[in-house]
């Protein structure tokens, strides 16, 4: 793979995570603001030329005029141009908190701005995709770290001590590998109360997804530890009086790091999908908080699926995410020197 491809993938991921983290700045609206008179408004077109055929340097949009004849039908009101402005100040985010900024990347003066249309409640889809990425991307990330932590713990104990501990831990991981995870997730989630706050729901999803996935990394790490502890320098350090904990931390853990990074790159997109699946079924993060999964849930209604294509944009966002992670995990496996070699 070309170095440029890897760099692009890394940059994509960094950018997506940064946008999610600073959603208050990048999103034009707060995720819960409803424009009730604009349900299912289509994405506004960005124009350079006005209806009279005159060209303008600054791009602009026309306001949507709701049609009284039909529900959710709109026509462009070409009587007035609304130029796009960058770094606009709008105290309308409706939420307070450090990450909710008054400054927004872009917006228009005197009118609404729906670059990706709105949903049935008139909420801006672009804003919800951006706010939702914070939930979906980070749920995958945190869950992957959690199951890697479990995998490292179990794998190193099993590989280092061997014998009975090894048997016990590895048969336990077999059990987790044998159970189909989606059904287990549904069962665990069904077992817990249906109505919980979105924050609780977030941590619940992360916990469930993360705790179920430790088995595969644990197996791989066990294998690495098994060969690492037979290295001569581990034996030598033991001969000089090093403790087990010291050996694991200083001599064995660095050898496990490579596997951990590769596993993370493989697990994170899987876990992002897991969160989306759960939220899609209404078992993950609930309304009104935005997550890619619960945004897609409205597509379960046939008329939404057929009439309002922009409601699928969270699914489109998965493409760059999945692509970037697959590029990174593949290149980590095939050409690790691209990451770890400083020369």
């Amino acid at each position: 793979m070309k170095k440029r491809t890897i760099k692009t993938a890394l940059a994509t991921l960094v950018a997506l995570h940064a946008i999610g983290l600073f959603a208050g700045f990048f999103a034009p609206y707060a995720p819960t603001i409803e424009h009730r008179d604009y349900p299912y408004a289509p994405p506004m077109r960005i124009h350079f030329a006005d209806s009279a055929g005159r060209w303008h340097l600054r791009p602009f949009v026309y306001a949507w005029l709701p049609q009284s004849t039909n529900f959710a039908e709109y026509r462009e009101d070409t009587s007035r141009r609304y130029p796009l402005r960058f770094f606009v100040e709008k105290p309308n985010s409706g939420l307070v908190g450090t990450l909710h900024s008054h400054l927004h990347l872009f917006g228009v003066d005197g009118n609404r701005c729906f670059l990706l249309g709105t949903d049935g409640y008139g909420r801006d889809v672009l804003s919800r995709v951006i706010w939702g990425s914070r939930i979906s991307l980070f749920a995958g990330l945190i869950a992957a770290l959690l199951s890697l932590a479990g995998g490292v713990l179990v794998g190193s104990l099993a590989g280092y001590y061997g014998g009975l501990a090894d048997e016990f831990l590895m048969r336990g991981s077999d059990l987790f590998l044998a159970v189909p995870w989606l059904y287990l997730l549904l069962a665990v989630r069904a077992f817990l109360p249906l109505q919980i706050s979105p924050v609780q729901a977030f941590f619940l999803v992360v916990l469930v997804v993360g705790m179920l996935g430790w088995a595969r990394p644990a197996r791989l790490i066990r294998g690495v530890v098994l060969s690492a502890r037979e290295r001569n320098y581990v034996l030598a350090a033991r001969g000089f009086g090093a403790s087990d904990f010291y050996l694991l931390r200083k001599h064995i853990f660095p050898q496990v790091l490579g596997v951990m990074v590769t596993q993370a790159a493989l697990l994170i997109p899987q876990y992002i999908l897991a969160e989306i699946t759960l939220s899609f079924f209404g078992l993950g993060i609930g309304e009104p908080v935005a997550s890619w999964g619960n945004m897609l849930a409205s597509l379960q209604q046939y008329f939404v699926l057929t009439s309002y294509w922009w409601m699928m944009s969270p699914a489109l966002m998965l493409i760059p995410v999945a692509w970037a992670y697959s590029v990174i995990s593949r290149s980590l496996i095939e050409q690790p020197h691209a990451f770890f070699n400083r020369h």
Binding site: Y233, A236, G239, A242, K250, H251, P254
Partner: protein
């Protein structure tokens, strides 16, 4: 004088894994006195390294000490809790492993690896451990300890690495140093330097050395006394010059015929390989372990195991030819 290390009837056996039920050491008994250098001679697979690892209690997975005792400074080491054993490893008994280039972690600076041996045994500040490590590096004959301290293993030569490992071993002033083929991977001139260094340190620090080698010439250089190992048994013991010049056991004699050592009368011996191979580890035959390859076997050798015989001053040999 009280021996520093006294090993009696030591047996090591593999209880699991592919070498299951293989008796790696059988009835090993010997003593090391303070300040003495004892050499262990034998071909590979004879159990020399297993003995070294058994003494410091770091046997490979699946192996365990079956019976016998290892007394160090009057204290029994077999059955000692891991925590107390760790206080002895590196501080009282140091094991220099085979191949110095593999004995150092390539990811850590060598200085760190020396100073952490000190840190493992003393509650000293980081600064003090670092100073002790630098002193140990200087003591091990490295001219520029400051530069070596911050170098990575791949930046050093084989001889320098060996000196670093020696510094690790000596940083805590052990009473006994076990060197497992410590010079086998070095070229001859470096080998000589390392041997001279070990001899010098033995003189200045009053260190006892257990030196394991397959090379009689190396042992002739450093050892006071030699134990000859074959298939997990000590077949002969005696003062180094006696064993090297007039070996008693047929195996010792056969082994020494494989090396070009100038004899006392000034002649060079005719080199001769030992017929056959080391015994199959899974096969347990009655009789003497060397019997299948021995050129001097008699009838009894195939059916009975010989006992130790003590033919003359300070010598011991396990062969029927010397039994009365």
């Amino acid at each position: 004088m009280e021996p520093l290390l006294k090993v009696e009837e030591l047996c090591v056996r593999y209880v699991s894994g592919e070498r299951s039920d293989f008796r790696a050491l059988r009835n090993i008994g010997f003593e090391i006195y303070p300040g003495e250098a004892v050499g262990i001679l034998g071909e590979s697979g004879g159990g020399k390294s297993t003995l070294a690892r058994a003494i410091v209690g770091v046997l490979p997975a699946g192996a365990c000490t079956d019976c016998g005792s290892i007394r160090f400074q009057g204290r029994e080491l077999i059955g000692l809790p891991e925590g107390e054993m760790r206080q002895i490893r590196g501080a009282k008994i140091s094991l220099i492993p085979q191949d110095p280039s593999a004995a150092l972690n390539p990811l850590l600076r060598v200085g760190t690896q020396v100073s952490e041996v000190v840190a493992a045994h003393y509650d000293w500040s980081k600064q003090r451990c670092r100073e002790a490590a630098k002193a140990a590096l200087r003591e091990a004959g490295l001219e520029n300890p400051l530069r070596i301290y911050s170098a990575f293993p791949h930046q050093l030569s084989g001889g320098q690495l060996q000196r670093v490992v020696i510094a690790q071993a000596l940083a805590c002033r052990p009473a006994l140093l076990i060197a497992d083929e410590a010079t086998a991977s070095l070229d001859t001139t470096t080998q000589a330097e390392i041997l001279r260094l070990l001899g010098f340190l033995r003189g200045t620090l009053g260190l006892a050395i257990l030196f394991i080698s397959h090379d009689p010439a190396v042992l002739a250089e450093i050892a006071d006394r030699i134990l000859v190992f074959y298939a997990g048994e000590i077949v002969e013991e005696g003062p180094a010059p006696d064993v090297l010049n007039s070996a008693l056991h047929p195996y010792s004699r056969a082994l020494l015929r494989c090396f070009p050592i100038k004899r006392r009368d000034g002649d060079w011996p005719v080199l001769k390989a030992i017929a056959g191979n080391s015994p199959d580890i899974h096969q347990r035959m009655p009789g003497c372990v060397f019997e299948p390859r021995c050129e001097e076997r008699i009838e009894i050798c195939a059916s009975h195991s010989p006992k130790d015989a003590f033919p003359c001053g300070g010598r011991r040999v396990r062969c029927f030819r010397y039994e009365q």
